[in-house]
């Protein structure tokens, strides 16, 4: 299950991607349109800015704007920023790998193989789909 943070982040980006121009968008405008707590959305957009997906401009006429084309941003990349690992277990994660403390070896782990299958089937969708698919 994705957290609300991730869900809100994705919806906010879709909202921005749907705009024709790339002028700064107000946090409050997105929050209102998408039914998201403004303060919570602040945190989320800031995180997306610090990760290089968004730029921001302060002061009058300011707001957040996209730094890349929607077609260049995969859902997988966004989920990794907002949610963390996509893989069902740390020991099968490509970007957040960690050894399981309770397993002697990876081959010995009874879950490893199937969880890799699960991971790959998810990535097959999430790495293929971009913001452009969501906003189209």
């Amino acid at each position: 299950m994705l957290s609300k943070k991730t869900k809100y982040g994705l919806k906010a980006l879709v909202y921005m991607a749907r705009k024709e121009d790339r002028k700064p968008v107000l946090i409050s405008e997105i929050a209102e349109s998408e039914n998201i707590s403004k303060k919570f959305l602040e945190i989320i957009l800031l995180q997306l800015k610090n990760s290089g997906f968004l730029g921001s401009k302060k002061g009058k006429g300011g707001g957040y704007y996209m730094l890349k084309e929607p077609g260049e941003i995969t859902i997988a990349a966004l989920i990794r920023i907002l949610e963390g690992p996509i893989a069902p277990l740390p020991c099968v994660s490509l970007h957040f790998y960690e050894k399981c403390s309770d397993c002697k070896t990876e081959e010995d782990c009874s879950l490893n193989k199937v969880m890799i299958e699960v991971r790959d089937s998810m990535l097959n969708v999430l790495e293929k789909r971009t913001l452009a698919d969501l906003s189209g």
Copy 2:
């Protein structure tokens, strides 16, 4: 990411499935072999019993035993019991459906379609794979 509860539950069941006979297995035996806190495993096995996957016997010679054949138990069913919804969003869950409060309608939700794709790709693995696949 699956919780440790789910992971431990799956590993415990694999351990039981791998035994030739279907005699009761001690919690402590599983806990020791799989490096799981015994007290935590108690809770997990009890839940699997209450969900109809395991039977138990008290007293000497007691323990937990499987009620079904490993090949009849899908990983999806176990995850639903131990973890909850498999779907990435409540609004695309088959077994735990809930309307999203922030969306007007489902068609209008920008995430709905892709998340259904994700769900189906996961289920494609999880509904196909059984305990027999893990223990084989």
